[in-house]
């Protein structure tokens, strides 16, 4: 289906169920869909499993969602940062579950979910604590561990510009996990700075084809 174009972030995140697995784009704050996360928090949904590279920065966006106790478990590569005090406190008090995944395996496991790959052998993490309990196999003289897809019920990401067919382009390193996460989620929700008519983006430069995008909301000026 062509994407729904919503008026505001609250409408864009409507209907996300308690217990959902939510893939959230961004690397630190670059590409983090702060307004969609804030709307998710306002929606009252809880018991979430969140997949993000980090575990929140400062007190807004993902950090605020964590602070309000909406997240049961976080799957990420790098929770500890200078401004991850919200997560740090929840983790130390045992109020959040953490699955730590090497960053490349995190990206590739979501890519596999979107690409219909059942599982893949990765050389990353072999012999480390993060590969404990995983199937190990030597292929062509190199050791690998078997990694499984990470699927989302929902992805919340930020892109730069969308067209009405759902095609997306991104800005610089804010691209990061967005193009992967939208392929791995049943419903992909995207905040952009601008929505243009289909045909206004050069077909050669589109990063995310519209087939992966379900809902778009343009957040500009004050709303952004």
């Amino acid at each position: 289906m062509p994407p729904m174009i919503l008026d505001d972030a609250d409408a864009a995140v409507a209907g996300i169920a308690d217990g959902a697995t939510v893939l959230i784009g961004g690397f630190g704050t670059a590409g983090q869909p702060v307004e969609l996360i804030e709307a998710l928090r306002r929606s009252g949904v809880r018991d979430l499993v969140v997949v993000n590279n980090n575990a929140g920065n400062g007190d807004v966006g993902l950090a605020a969602l964590l602070r309000d106790g909406r997240v049961r478990k976080i799957i990420c590569s790098f929770p500890r940062q200078s401004d991850s005090h919200v997560f740090d406190e929840l983790y130390r008090s045992g109020d959040i579950e953490l699955e730590l995944v090497p960053q490349g395996n995190l990206a590739e496991r979501m890519r596999a979910a979107g690409a219909g790959i059942g599982a893949f052998f990765s050389p990353t993490g072999v012999g480390t604590a993060l590969a404990e309990g995983k199937e190990r196999r030597t292929i062509n003289g190199r050791d690998h561990v078997l990694e499984y897809p990470i699927r989302g019920d929902v992805a919340l990401i930020k892109a730069y510009r969308a067209d009405t067919a759902g095609n997306l382009i991104y800005r610089k390193t804010a691209r990061n996990f967005g193009p992967v996460m939208v392929t791995a989620a049943a419903t992909a929700i995207v905040q952009v700075e601008e929505i243009v008519e289909a045909g206004m983006l050069d077909p050669e430069v589109i990063v995310t084809p519209g087939i992966f995008v379900d809902r778009i909301v343009a957040l500009t000026g004050d709303a952004r």
Partner: protein, 219 residues
């Protein structure tokens, strides 16, 4: 309920294509393979928002190109020059088949040598010993789309039914076909039964007598 069109003859290829097109939901992402199924494109409603995928790396494929519009860098999976529509996008082969294998396409329409009662598909190889095999994207398409529709004649040139209890031709995919459109009837394949939704130029009892697969009339 089954509709038996006994007051007319069997459908021609264009009528079959029209029927398939009518069953494609508005807004669907669709791959029409190569050959006969590409006729379906001619009957998709303008403005119905159906987006065509071609596995050689494009979404938003438009109609065949003619004359000055021909660009040898813009072709479909059958290597025929095509056009692009507003909202089109290009991507490489690994991304294109990831899109397919990942279940993002709604419908794929394929030809077939045989389809079995449980939806096994045989469409890539006749099994003849000296035939040069060629699979292309057939096996990827068979398992990739949410719904796989087959367009085929119900009978082979030797008169044998192509809807069979079990395929004798080499398989393309297991239990992957959801509907079969033929000149004489449209079949829906479910795990338990093969349901006939309509017949053309033949009655349901005649049809049931002509194939070896047990058929159920749509209720």
């Amino acid at each position: 309920m089954i509709i038996q069109h006994t007051d007319r003859g069997p459908m021609d290829k264009r009528e079959i294509a029209q029927l398939v097109a009518a069953d494609i939901p508005p807004g669907a992402y669709v791959n029409l393979g190569i050959g006969q199924p590409t006729l379906v494109a001619d009957y998709l409603p303008v403005g119905g928002g159906v987006t065509l995928h071609t596995e050689n790396g494009m979404l938003g494929m438009g109609p065949q190109a003619y004359g000055d519009d021909v660009d040898q860098d813009l072709i479909n999976a059958g290597k025929i020059p095509v056009t692009e529509t507003p909202g089109a996008s290009y991507f490489h082969h690994a991304d294109s088949f990831a899109m397919m294998r990942g279940g993002h396409l709604d419908v794929c329409v394929l030809g077939a040598f045989q389809v079995s009662a449980v939806g096994d598909l045989a469409n890539w190889h006749t099994g003849e010993v000296d035939a040069i095999p060629a699979v292309g994207g057939a096996m990827d398409l068979a398992i990739g789309a949410k719904d796989v529709f087959v367009m085929m004649s119900l009978f082979a040139k030797d008169g044998a039914p192509k809807l069979v209890p079990s395929c004798t031709y080499p398989l393309t995919g297991l239990a992957c076909v959801s509907r079969i459109y033929t000149e004489f009837a449209v079949f829906e394949i479910s795990p338990d039964e093969v349901v006939v939704t309509s017949t053309f130029g033949i009655s349901f009892p005649e049809l049931a007598a002509a194939v070896e697969v047990p058929l159920t009339p749509a209720r």
